[in-house]
Amino acid sequence: MLKKSYIQLFWAMLVLSVSGCTAESTEGYVYYINFKPEADAMWQELAEKYTEQTGTQVKVVTAASGTYTDTLTVAMNKTMVPTLFVVNGVQSLANWEDYCYDLRDSKLTDDLESEDFCMYGKNGALEAIGYCYECYGLIVNKSLLKKSGHDISEINNFASLRSVAEDIHSRSGELGFDAFTSSGLDSSSSWRFSGHLAALPLFYEFGEAGICSQPAEITGKYLGLYRNVWDLYINNSAVLPTALNTATGNMAEEEFGSGKAVFYQNGSWEYNSLTNAETFAMNPDDLAMIPIYCGAEGEENAGLCSGTENYWAVNSKADQKSIDATIAFLDWVVTSEEGRKMMSDSFGATPFKDSLPFVNIFISDADRLREEGKYTVTWDFIYTPNTDTWRAGVVSALQSYSAGTEDWGKVENAFVNGWSYQYKTEHCILN
């Protein structure tokens, strides 16, 4: 009798578990794995509004900082798969290429003002759409610059930048501030140099060679420009080069925000933090962004570095109803009043036709320079193979070089040979 009960219990559990696993939604749903923790509250609010208006279920899960890939991988392995996720470069796209739905014939393409921020895959499939764009360069505290007896108009190339920076650094004791913020090589800050600054030599090399996709090898022809800037940064700041490995991103931000340095290499995303009354409350009129002058020929005509690392991709493994629901949701986000406001407040500049105006001095500077006919330095670091691994090698070499324990050759080796090796591992040429 008891044995019979066990068997009945077993079958009941089996039937329940199987029916639970195979339960499918009869209507499409939207499930977004959000990349930016700072925008989580706004996405949740927007999702709720959309569900109220249309009845479509929208679930937004935000990955904690630095755990996006892990969160996405786990979610993709579940029964209810995400329908919308973020890829942030060529490598990320390569990892998730099989999961990217071709958006070429979707309504989203009609919403785009520019296709400059789209990523295409095999056979020209539109696999990911950049949903915001940003710029980076040297953020300048114009007020401090004036106090040091200089003006922003006198800086238009590397020589003039160096002259101003070295003058400020030599008088830092008397002025009470230094030229550059600390160039921290802690992981919270090193991406500014192994990613953003590294884009400069890549941009000039790729431009000269006509490269517009990920190359298997690089020559490092313009690494001298990279060295120019790096030497300028570390020799004209208050922090000793040997202490850079523990200097963090927050330290640099605090140095700039509290008026201890004139120049700060960072991007348009810093605008809110620098001007917000609850953080640094800097006067927007005191701020400007100039190009990172590195000594390239004709750099007087350089603009800011503009691009994006934020691309939406729709999961091709989701059922068609959910794919359609997701595209409809995205269309609503970039065309509805509520959606456009959220996009403008959270991300600033977006490449959609109906995007709302926004206030960000740095993006305005990028637009102004572009209108003046200056060339845009594109984000060529997005082509980096095995981004994190390659960058870690470059950062380690920069640390040794800065501390004086190794020469510049080590940085060149990590940069150039590291690239070709990581390319091979990324494309399975080694294994």
Partner: protein, 311 residues
């Protein structure tokens, strides 16, 4: 002690109902250990981005794992680290426990103070110690990750500081279990302190020492958090062909970083994890076997002596 149920009816009833009591723990064990282990074993022979889409590639992942110089470097580092930490943790822990087993003032306070580091999380400790080390080394114009020697010894010092207190507690329990009549008899016979320690206390504490060495060995092999937070494997040496070797990376961290290279390396990381498991299992098995052999010797001797006395 085994309880034997002689009544057949009662025994049958117990046998039939026993699954009800075993089942919850068994289900948890299967879900948490058996299924992930078997899945991991299967995935080590597959190429996959997410486990659902895995496809069989045979031994390719094992080949990639064995041909990765970073893996061998991490293997060597783990071996060195294991030896260093066994010595640097157990020797001080034993002597601290020896002194704190004596009747001295403030024993409780000292024991608590030594044990507290064990309550702090590995990542927190890693970041705090990296600041401490760098604060000192910056004074001399260098930094923790400037050299693998600094980095690896940094991890040893950190882990010793963290685990000495824990092992000390086990050793104190060991000291307490040494028969007092034996100690008193030795004192009456006029042994020196060194003789008492090496001839009486140590032989009686073999099983305690084995437990502590076993724990230190397995903790050293599994070391991850502190390694990640303190050095992250740096400094990184980029070889002339562009291949990277993280010179302070231990095995567990190497598996993690391999997984994060890109989707093509998920299988190789899984293969490394299986190798890691085998290594740990062999080491733990050997250690347990040796402990069993040496741990029984004193008992055998005592029995033999008892037998001789009876005769």
């Amino acid at each position: 002690m085994n309880t034997v149920i002689k009544n057949k009816g009662v025994r049958r009833a117990v046998m039939l109902r026993s699954p009800i009591f075993i089942l919850p723990a068994f289900i948890c064990f299967v879900i948490s250990f058996v299924i992930p282990f078997l899945l991991g074993l299967y995935l080590s022979f597959c190429k996959f981005n997410i486990p659902r889409d895995a496809h069989w590639v045979g031994f390719a992942n094992y080949s990639a794992a064995f041909s990765d110089p970073g893996f061998w470097s991490a293997f060597g580092n783990s071996l060195m680290f294991m030896i260093a930490s066994v010595v640097c943790i157990n020797v001080p822990a034993f002597f601290i426990a020896y002194f704190l087993s004596e009747k001295i003032n403030g024993v409780g306070l000292f024991r608590t103070a030594f044990f507290i580091p064990n309550l702090i999380g590995g990542v927190v400790l890693g970041y705090i110690w990296s600041m401490l080390f760098d604060g000192i080394l910056n004074y001399f114009g260098t930094y923790l990750t400037a050299s693998p020697v600094y980095g690896l010894w940094g991890i040893v010092i950190l882990v010793a500081w963290q685990q000495i207190g824990y092992m000390m507690i086990i050793y104190i329990a060991g000291f307490k279990s040494v028969p007092t009549d034996m100690l008193e008899a030795a004192e009456v016979d006029g042994v020196t302190k060194a003789q008492k320690l090496f001839r009486i206390i140590l032989p009686n504490m073999i099983s305690t020492i084995s437990v502590c060495i076993f724990l230190t060995l397995t903790n050293s092999l599994k070391m991850f958090d502190q390694n990640l937070a303190l050095t992250g494997g740096a400094p990184i040496e980029t070889l002339e062909n562009g291949m990277q070797v993280k010179t302070t990376e231990l095995l567990a961290l190497n598996i993690y970083t391999t997984y994060n290279i890109n989707a093509n390396w998920h299988g190789a990381a899984q293969a490394k994890a299986v190798i890691f498991f085998l290594l740990t299992a062999i080491l733990a098995g050997t250690q347990l076997y040796l402990t069993g052999r040496f741990g029984q010797k004193p008992k055998k001797r005592v029995r033999a002596k008892e037998g001789a006395a009876k005769q």
